[in-house]
């Protein structure tokens, strides 16, 4: 851990990421203003001591909305990652371990899914089921599953050739137990790295979906949604776009730096030196 933090990139990533979690926690507990209540007398105010980051077109406090949005975004992204990792690991491990027809079928299906851009696929699913936070999680989770399947299946294929897998079979263990005790734990390293990368992607996609109006429906605040609303007033009130944009970039930067550092840390070849 100390070696981890001694890298400046990793430390920076961790700081940015903690900011986001802190903001999310703050948004969950208490905000200076009610993020949903409009105040017509205080529309489009510039940042001041009263409204730290100004107010939007309905007079809602931008700072409060950013905090709550952090919670929504982080929650949606985390649930998305959890869904796709669970689903993808199960499908990928079974396909890779069993091989044969099952593997062929899964591979064809996943390749077909992967041939659509993830965001387009998610948009399609959301168009079918209508915008809601749960819908975003489901849509993005399904859209990201193929990449998890691919990573897990690849690891399983190489693990399957290792002799300790044969050893487990010789000891009389069935395939399910071997998968759970030997195969999946040994896939965790690539999975951890993939999960951090996906978290960043999910955050961005969720913002993009909300920006397009297909994500978390208003008036609930999300970073992407705030950006979309701010667009109408970008001449008169640039802070409406600047602050959500800044939040998205900082969170993404933090997560990507953290993911890179994690990859270096977990790569055994890097550990030897």
């Amino acid at each position: 851990m100390t070696r981890f933090l001694s890298r400046p990139n990793a430390a920076l990533g961790l700081i940015f990421f903690s900011f986001m979690l802190l903001a999310a926690a703050w948004g969950l507990l208490a905000t200076p203003y009610d993020p949903l209540r409009p105040d017509v007398w205080a529309r489009l105010q510039a940042p001041s001591a009263l409204h730290w980051l100004g107010t939007d077109g309905f007079g809602r406090d931008v700072f409060s909305r950013l905090l709550v949005a952090a919670w929504v975004s982080a929650g949606v992204s985390m649930a998305t990652v959890a869904l796709s990792v669970t689903l993808g690991t199960a499908i990928g491990a079974v396909a890779g371990y069993l091989g044969g027809r099952v593997d062929d079928g899964v591979t064809v299906l996943m390749d077909a899914l992967m041939s659509f851009p993830a965001i387009l696929l998610a948009l399609g699913i959301l168009a079918a089921i209508g915008p809601s936070p749960g819908g975003v999680v489901l849509a993005l989770g399904l859209a990201y599953t193929p990449s998890v399947v691919r990573v897990v299946r690849g690891s399983v294929l190489s693990l399957k050739e290792r002799e300790f897998i044969d050893a487990a079979r010789v000891l009389g263990h069935g395939p399910l137990r071997t998968l759970l005790t030997h195969v999946i734990p040994n896939c965790l390293t690539p999975l951890t790295v993939l999960a951090t990368a996906m978290f960043g992607n999910a955050l961005l996609s969720e913002s993009a979906l909300s920006f397009l109006g297909a994500g978390v429906p208003p008036p609930a605040p999300t970073w992407g949604g705030m950006l979309a609303e701010g667009r109408q007033h970008v001449q008169a009130a640039p802070w409406l776009c600047i602050f959500p944009g800044l939040a998205i970039s900082m969170a993404l930067l933090g997560i990507n730096l953290l993911g890179d550092a994690l990859r270096d840390l977990l790569d055994p070849r890097m550990n030897k030196l």
């Binding site: 300790f164 050893a167 079979r169 734990p185």
Partner: protein
């Protein structure tokens, strides 16, 4: 004294960030055309030494002191550009893995010609002529056509011949060969070594041969350097340094070489055999082409009969591709059985229900070849050893794990460690503990010592023998190493391309090898045999061939015919 071609003075190599040296002050001198063998176990620094000569140390390794004079030039002073001139042109190098040292995307001709074009600027026609000439010298059939083929079209032995040919194409003054034949079968190894020695002799090239195989050094080299933990232990002519060793480490190495021990075992008791196999056939399904078309399965074993008594050790011998590993895996249900009957303790495995079969299967355990891949890297030793125990209390599990660990000579301290904290020999002990904790009747040991150094190998072999005496299980011992087989086996079966060509009691088979393939196998191994006080290098003396009518290559079928006392050999059907 003749001017030396290569002279190394006080070479020291260490790794970045560590005071410890991996090579601690090596001095050596080689005359032109001389053949020097460097032997040592893993971690002795022999490969670092070879790489240092060419300035090809792996990342992290640094030369701390010493000079490397080649032809009067200090290689350590040369600029990278000048060193590149020496590399390849004056000093050739061959690595261990023929499968990965050729570029799969280029034709053999391109790769052979590379050096000639780079260093000598020859015309394309001239390059081709020289390449064909060299491949001819290495007895490559149809050398001219070989140049247009790709590496994957050649077997491992042929690739290694191509590698060595390409290193010698520039007529270097020195060839450095790092374990050039370790990945090859013995018969192929002999061909490659013979051809290399002849070519070096013709070109006047000196040979620096790095290997762990003492027999190969005694066979090929004039002088030898023995290394241990980076120290030069001893150096000098093969006889007496290797053959009448005065130094204790060298003596220990030689005495660790596996060889026949004990007297002929009694012929198998009339008791019913523990394991009996009738006409076992295995075929691997071929890779599917297209979506639906599947070519016929590839047969690997063509009807094997085998029986194994309780407490007996049966060794399966053969080169790679002979099906010996497949036979072991088929017994454990790890290979697809296409036909035949396997019965354990008189019970036909095929007639049992699935749970009965699983229970029976637990009585057959396996020890794998590679102790680095047979243990789950994320598990602690205690959990690995106890993996097969089901339905026991935590306390009983702990007791049995501790007992199994102490059985294989590992103390309590090992239970909480991870596999990567253990040496190769210790890992193999863990693998053995994992097998014996199941109280098996039969252990299939697939090349259990071939990944280990010779001294560790000797310890593991005696451990296996000792465990057998105490617990009374049988071994099906799979190995390509005749010396190891001769030490552990009661009976031996020689496999060739999925057929049994000869089988018999150990002494019968080793003293009177009859089938031509068995004889070739035995003649190919360079050995160091005890001779009075010292040792003698050479090949195993073979008795005159038995004038048996109809000894056939397996391709022409034939049946196993009884010679005497259970010694059977494949002959043409009468």
């Amino acid at each position: 004294m003749t001017r030396s071609l290569l002279s190394i003075e006080d070479l020291r190599i260490g790794f970045a960030g560590s005071e410890r040296l991996a090579v601690k002050g090596i001095d050596l001198a080689m005359a032109p055309g001389e053949r020097l063998g460097v032997v040592g176990e893993s971690g002795s620094g022999k490969t670092l030494l070879a790489r240092a000569i060419l300035g090809l140390l792996p990342p992290g390794a640094q030369r701390r002191a010493g000079r490397i004079l080649f032809d009067g030039q200090d290689l350590t002073d040369l600029s990278p550009a000048t060193l590149r001139h020496v590399r390849g042109r004056r000093i050739g190098m061959v690595f261990q893995e023929p499968m990965v040292s050729l570029n799969p995307a280029l034709t053999i001709g391109r790769q052979l010609g590379e050096g000639l074009i780079l260093h000598e600027g020859l015309s394309a026609a001239e390059v081709r002529r020289r390449s064909v000439e060299m491949l001819d010298a290495f007895r490559m059939v149809d050398a001219a056509n070989c140049l247009d083929k790709y590496p994957h079209e050649f077997s491992g032995g042929m690739r290694q011949r191509i590698m060595i040919a390409s290193a010698l194409l520039l007529r270097p003054a020195l060839l450095i060969a790092d374990e050039p034949t370790t990945a090859l079968d013995v018969i192929v190894q002999k061909q490659v070594l013979d051809l290399t020695l002849a070519a070096c002799r013709d070109l006047g090239t000196a040979l620096l041969l790095i290997t762990h195989d003492l027999g190969v050094v005694a066979d090929c080299c004039e002088r030898v350097l023995v290394m241990r933990h980076g120290d030069p232990v001893t150096q000098g002519p093969v006889d007496p340094v290797l053959l009448r060793p005065s130094d204790p480490y060298t003596r220990q190495l030689l005495h660790s070489l596996p060889r026949r021990q004990g007297v002929e075992t009694a012929p198998a008791a009339p008791a019913p055999p523990l394991l009996s196999i009738k006409d076992l056939r295995v075929a691997y399904p071929a890779r599917r082409r297209g979506l639906f078309r599947r070519p016929p399965a590839r047969p690997v074993l063509h009807g094997i009969d085998l029986s194994l008594a309780r407490g007996e050790t049966l060794a399966l011998v053969g080169e790679s591709g002979s099906g010996k590993t497949t036979l072991g895996r088929a017994l454990l249900g790890l290979a697809p059985v296409a036909g035949g009957r396997v019965s354990l303790d008189g019970q036909d495995i095929a007639t049992l229900s699935a749970p009965e079969r699983r229970a029976l299967a637990r009585r057959v355990q396996m020890v794998f070849q590679d102790p680095f891949s047979s243990l789950d890297p994320r598990w602690r030793i205690a959990r690995i050893v106890g993996e097969g125990l089901t339905g026991v209390t935590a306390a009983e599990r702990a007791t049995r794990v501790a007992a199994a660990l102490s059985d294989v000579g590992l103390g309590d301290g090992f239970a909480d460690r991870f596999p990567h904290e253990l040496s190769g020999g210790q890992r193999q002990r863990v693998a053995i503990a994992r097998a014996i904790i199941m109280k098996p009747d039969l252990i299939v040991a697939d090349e259990p010592v071939s990944a280990l150094d010779v001294t560790v190998q000797a310890q593991i072999l005696s451990l296996l023998k000792d465990l057998q005496r105490r617990h009374g299980f049988s071994y099906l011992f799979i190995s390509h190493h005749l010396g190891v087989v001769e030490q552990v086996a009661d009976r031996v079966m020689v496999l060739y391309r999925g057929h049994v060509v000869e089988e018999g009691a150990r002494d019968d088979l080793f003293d009177r090898p009859t089938h031509p393939y068995t004889r070739r196998l035995m003649a190919a191994v360079p050995e160091i045999l005890p001779d009075g006080d010292g040792f003698r290098a050479g090949h195993r003396p073979l008795p005159a061939p038995v004038p048996l009518p109809g000894l056939t290559p397996v391709e022409q079928g034939g049946v196993l015919t009884l010679l005497q006392g259970g010694h059977r050999v494949r002959c043409a059907a009468p």
